[in-house]
Symmetry: C2
Subunit: 321 residues, 2 copies
Amino acid sequence: MTEVMAGIDIGGTNTVFGLVDREGNILAEGHMSTAVYDEVEDYLEALAAHVLALVASADPPVALQGVGVGGPNGHYFSGTIEDAPNLPWKGTLEVADLLSEHTGVPVVLTNDANAAAMGEMLYGAAEGMKDFVVVTLGTGLGSGYVVDGKVMYGWSGFAGELGHVIVKENGRLCGCGRRGCLETYVSAPGLVRTVMEMLGDAPRGSSLRGIPMSEMTARNVTEAAQAGDAVARDAFSSTGHILGLALANTIAITSPQAIILFGGLAQAGRLILEPTLKTMETMTLSNLKGSTRLLLSALMQRNAAVLGAAALAWDDMGKKA
Amino acid sequence: MTEVMAGIDIGGTNTVFGLVDREGNILAEGHMSTAVYDEVEDYLEALAAHVLALVASADPPVALQGVGVGGPNGHYFSGTIEDAPNLPWKGTLEVADLLSEHTGVPVVLTNDANAAAMGEMLYGAAEGMKDFVVVTLGTGLGSGYVVDGKVMYGWSGFAGELGHVIVKENGRLCGCGRRGCLETYVSAPGLVRTVMEMLGDAPRGSSLRGIPMSEMTARNVTEAAQAGDAVARDAFSSTGHILGLALANTIAITSPQAIILFGGLAQAGRLILEPTLKTMETMTLSNLKGSTRLLLSALMQRNAAVLGAAALAWDDMGKKA
């Protein structure tokens, strides 16, 4: 019987899950609503039932070895999710313990970016690497650091918050309450904020002038840039420059073999990669120059969140299984 | 017979060495000139002879198990020192291999800051910790990051260059050729540069106006600050603020249990600690606030460089011995 891990990605609106074998094949997938449950206990019971049903209906049959979960503010040491702003339940949620009770198998949990890093290490762009960083560019900027083959959790369990490195003192207001965090510049909303500032700064022609900020998305800016809009292109250049400098600084500290970009904004491809790489290479300390590759995720066309969560479980429990 | 490791600290002018037992007692010490040897081979042969003589004359007798070396630009993976600006020999120096040949025992080598980190972990302020950072504040700013009980060397072997994180784009010119590196602000010469800028910025009374820059040292600034000189105190505040922000950012990435300050500038004590701690605590991301302690080295009154180098050897080879 094929051994599988369930990979679960908890999002604010939907929860996605799948059964993943040791080689990273997703043998079955499913999803459910997150937001409709008033109580987290009910949600986790339903989630466990969905996963077990998926296992029971698998053909050929599979043997569930464990569960890996990626979720916002997921804490690996305690198996809990704490005060995740985009989940309906507040406080400390005992996700791993409750899921383990309902599924009867061990459960490990971490945050989205660390799960993405494990996915890249086992099945993606970081295969065979022991020192690398995954940077997720979406509504925020997340990061997972792998050091000597293991996710760096730090003393608190909350290491790897590159998005909350302050890159401009007294810079843009961040959702965390401080100012100048990297993710206020380098993320989908950060890109839109840069467009707004540029439009305010000088009277230039741009198709983006016709879109209200409340409706403008990173996709609008990407399409405008692809159509040659100068403001949109400048916004990408500025975003890439700020990211490139932050990556040069992260290279000085952790010296990774690769930095892997993942997520919505990374799908802008060359628009974001080229200015990032240019600044990163210029700004990297001479004895580290050329030692770190900048790559795009190899999992963006697949269900990366499910793969990453399952990879965490395989990495943690695979040897015991 | 007591087992010992030799700890060697290679400096540009002098080389210091000692025999250290497993508990961190320095049983014998010695030193020699570095700069008088035209050829690195002659220097290493003489150094090995000095160490073996120290072993031979130890009373009660000791058994040499291995050698740990801390040196500028020391590369752990290859055992070499590469292009160290303050050593008389250029290129790649095969320090570990040659020393091992001459002493007949295994030799491990790393840079000064990583050696200091091992010293703090085995015998100093980081005893029992698995995640911490040592920051050495001297003529430059060095750092050693310990992650999950091991020095973080990164893919290149050159991780841990906090001093070369760019904190101000287009800021002060650094010896590395780039601009705005942390060590141009936070180091003994950085402190003096800050005094110069402050004296230039506004006509304020200060005892430091009577000292030419070519003669001004961090000690002058420390003494002036202790005597109540406002410019000197402001220079420490500014230095501590810049360091505090850099440490808040390093906490966001590695989430250490402690950050340990070491070296000449750290001897200014509260003058540097207080402004650093204030900014570090204010600027730390909320879910990491209070999780990292700022400490002074516990080895500053001892021969920390020798202890650190020996600690590296004990950590690496102690289990096999």
